[in-house]
């Protein structure tokens, strides 16, 4: 095309979805009490980003989130300055999110969609989330293994199980509709096939 080229609609759509998941991850970090215990949903939306957007665009969501934090914007759970969190005791969990979204996106994309496959992807993702974070905490705070695990792994496990169950359920109800909407949009690319009109 000689004149200005439009962005392929599919790319634009995924760009918007990706930004949207970044927003959801940030909002998920704002403590919102559902019931008596405050639940942070950031990790939950990271799981969903992998499940819904796949590895590439899911990764884009998470990287944008971390990047905004590097710039010093207050995007991480509960804290008012991103950069400080990146250097603080919970910083180790942030690379874990990258691993998680990649693992979930890749594993959930293999083969035929099923709830069992999604569950497996989410479990593997969560297993990858914790090691870097816990190692970092252990080093920084000079704690021994039992203390670290008791303080930073066990309390999160029940919540993680609930989040996985909900994510799998959403994968069953919303994901097929979402995939269809996306494929419909790509099925009728508005300006990709300009050539065939000429």
């Amino acid at each position: 095309m000689s004149k200005q080229s439009a962005v392929a609609p599919m790319n634009l759509r995924m760009t918007v979805y990706s930004a949207l998941f970044t927003t959801l991850i940030i909002i998920g970090g704002v403590n919102i009490p559902i019931g008596p215990v405050p639940i942070v949903l950031a990790d939950f939306f990271v799981m969903l980003a992998g499940l819904f957007l796949g590895p590439k665009w899911g990764l884009a969501s998470v990287l944008l989130w971390l990047f905004l934090g590097v710039l010093g914007l207050p995007v991480f759970a509960g804290f008012k300055a991103g950069l400080a969190v990146l250097m603080g005791p919970t910083a180790g969990f942030l690379p874990g999110y990258v691993l998680m979204v990649l693992a979930v996106g890749l594993l959930a994309g293999i083969g035929k969609p099923s709830w069992a496959r999604n569950t497996l992807a989410l479990i593997v993702g969560n297993i990858l989330l914790y090691p870097p974070g816990i190692l970092w905490l252990k080093m920084l705070l000079h704690l021994n293994w039992p203390t670290v695990l008791a303080a930073y792994l066990l309390p999160f496990l029940p919540g993680t199980v609930i989040k996985i169950v909900v994510a799998v359920a959403l994968g069953q109800t919303l994901l097929p509709r979402f995939k269809q909407a996306v494929s419909e949009a790509s099925w009728q690319p508005a300006n990709d096939n300009d050539e065939d009109e000429q």
Partner: protein
């Protein structure tokens, strides 16, 4: 719309607000590096003084900022305590608390102070720079970086900032609607989370669809008009000052 202030920009007319945002970001990076490298009490105190001065110069609301830091203070306290108790070393010189070592306490305090300095850097940057400018600066810096689609990153940043209040409101609305239908009486926590998250997600995905169409209708491209920046003499002076500070700490 209470969360409009989430990103903590305070519009003012100050030297720091008016500064060329590209240099402002560079200054903040330099000061962060200085804070990371700082080791002696003099250096820490000096940097605190400089950043405190910057906060005053930008006329940021100090009381509001301190309030925001409460949770952070808790974290720092925990950090100091953990270091004091778990790092082995000599007991404290004047009053000895069982289990607390001198080395550990010093180590914890130093780390905490460093975090505080970084926090102050972030406050100056986010407090005195609008998100729009932020986006433009990031795009400017990313443009020469290979393999990074700078325009797309900028668009995504912009959309994140634009969508934040919209989705947050949707979320609040959704929660109120569920509450009105007595979701609180549900024992099953999975159902409870499900009923909040599922409508939120489907609503926001629909919204994203609409936005994508609207952007397309307005001829969205990634070769867009670029933002213009103006650099004034005082911006260079401030940058030079920051560079000197950073070098002084680094080359000590």
């Amino acid at each position: 719309m209470a969360e409009m202030t989430f990103f903590h920009y305070f519009p003012r007319d100050s030297l720091i607000h008016r500064m060329d945002a590209r240099l402002k970001l560079l200054c903040m990076i330099l000061l962060s590096v200085a804070a990371t490298l700082a080791g002696t009490v003099t250096e820490f105190a000096f940097l605190t003084f400089v950043l405190g001065g910057a906060i005053c110069l930008a006329r940021l609301p100090v009381v509001a900022l301190l309030k925001d830091m409460r949770l952070f203070a808790l974290l720092i306290l925990l950090l100091v305590a953990a270091n004091a108790f778990f790092v082995p070393g000599r007991p404290l010189p004047y009053l000895s608390i069982p289990g607390v070592s001198q080395e550990g306490l010093v180590m914890g305090l130093r780390f905490a102070w460093r975090l505080l300095l970084i926090l102050m850097v972030c406050m100056v940057m986010t407090g005195a720079t609008s998100l729009l400018t932020f986006k433009n600066v990031v795009e400017w810096y990313l443009r020469p970086v290979p393999l990074v689609p700078a325009a797309r990153v900028a668009t995504m940043m912009n959309l994140t900032f634009v969508l934040f209040p919209v989705i947050f409101d949707t979320y609040a609305e959704m929660r109120a609607a569920q509450k009105a239908r007595c979701i609180e009486t549900r024992k099953n926590i999975i159902k409870r989370v499900m009923f909040t998250v599922a409508p939120l997600l489907s609503q926001t995905l629909r919204k994203a669809d609409e936005i994508a169409y609207a952007m397309e209708a307005r001829c969205y491209t990634e070769e867009r008009t670029r933002a213009v920046f103006r650099t004034k003499a005082q911006d260079w002076v401030l940058t030079a000052v920051c560079l000197v500070i950073c070098l002084a700490v680094a080359l000590r």
